[in-house]
């Protein structure tokens, strides 16, 4: 465990500030969390279903996803995560994992001991509220995914997911001008949306044919933002990022 240079945890600061502004004191406390930094290769499990954990994993760089393996090796992906996210934050209060967390790309993670995280939230109740709010937004994203899974067509569902992933990245300065990294495979998109690889492929080609998007070399280029939003019936309220995305 090493003490940190102030800039190391900037992705967490940026993420927290996308939810609420921080005081100098709060920022200092976050920057001085005792963390252990580790780089993981792509497609590596960080924590597994059934593990009992004593630390939270903050993504400093790269992408990760939550998933669960079902009978016959089928995989359901629950969420995608980018720098600044703490995908296993719930483990702070529910340390027994009921799903797994793995990297998509090579990724740098900062592991924050639960004890330090707990102290932070005791000393700074406003930070606790920001983290709580983040988990509530997380729950809102789950509700949107559920609505997409159950009620939207393949086309509208993928359009919705692309709007969400673009705005999430834009909010923390990782995307702009309707272009963003999208490192997941078609199989990942399929396992996240309940579609087969064949359906994902057909749908992406249809969207490209309609001039909405181009997905190439792990980059999403949104050619027609308004049309994409319309197709997805996308309303970004559930992301609660308005302050940063307006203008």
């Amino acid at each position: 465990m090493a003490s940190m240079s102030p800039h190391l945890l900037q992705p967490m600061i940026t993420k927290l500030e996308s939810i609420s502004s921080l005081t100098e004191e709060e920022r200092y406390a976050v920057e001085n969390l005792p963390v252990r930094v580790r780089t993981h290769q792509s497609r590596e499990d960080i924590v597994r279903d059934g593990d009992r954990v004593s630390q939270c994993c903050l993504i400093l760089e790269g992408w990760a996803y939550r998933y669960k393996i079902l009978g016959g090796g089928r995989r359901q992906i629950f969420s995608f995560h980018i720098a600044g996210d703490i995908p296993d934050l719930p483990s702070l209060h529910i340390p027994l994992m009921d799903h797994s967390l793995a990297t998509i790309t090579k990724a740098t993670m900062a592991f924050i001991p639960h004890e330090a995280m707990r102290d932070l939230t005791y000393q700074f109740p406003r930070l606790a509220a920001v983290l709580w709010r983040d988990t509530l937004v997380d729950a809102g994203i789950f509700r949107e995914w559920m609505a997409c899974m159950g009620q939207r067509s393949a086309y509208d569902h993928l359009a919705h997911l692309f709007c969400e992933l673009y705005l999430k990245q834009e909010a923390v300065g990782l995307a702009g001008e309707h272009r963003c990294p999208l490192p997941m495979t078609q199989a990942d998109l399929g396992d996240a949306t309940g579609m087969s690889n064949v359906h994902v492929n057909r749908t992406l080609q249809e969207m490209r044919g309609d001039g909405l998007i181009i997905l190439r070399n792990k980059t999403l280029v949104i050619k027609a933002w308004n049309e994409l939003i319309r197709a997805a019936e996308f309303d970004d309220t559930y992301l609660h990022l308005r302050e940063r995305t307006v203008g």
């Binding site: 089928r74 064949v198 359906h199 492929n201 057909r202």
Partner: protein, 88 residues
């Protein structure tokens, strides 16, 4: 149990249209679609576009050829008939 295949064109909304209806004992149990070149490494394979009764369920990966697809469908039907016999 023998399967009977009937060629058909399916409107999948893509270049994949050459297909077969698959019948078992006169009942439609599946629709297999031949994957076009737009699928790269899966091009030329057969995709279970729809399955009925014992063949329904989560998506299956495409089959390398029609024989493999029929073998899988037959085994699913056989598993179900054994289960049904056990129940009666």
């Amino acid at each position: 149990m023998s399967l009977h295949l009937q060629p058909v064109q399916v409107a999948t909304g893509s270049a994949d249209s050459d297909s077969h209806l698959v019948f078992s004992d006169g009942l439609l149990v599946a629709v297999l679609v031949h994957l076009s070149d737009q699928h790269e490494e899966e091009a030329g394979m057969w995709y279970l576009e729809a399955g009925f009764g014992p063949i329904s369920g989560p998506d299956e990966p495409p089959f390398v050829n029609l024989d493999a697809a029929q073998a899988w469908i037959s085994s699913r039907l056989a598993t179900r008939s054994v289960r049904d016999r056990g129940r009666h």
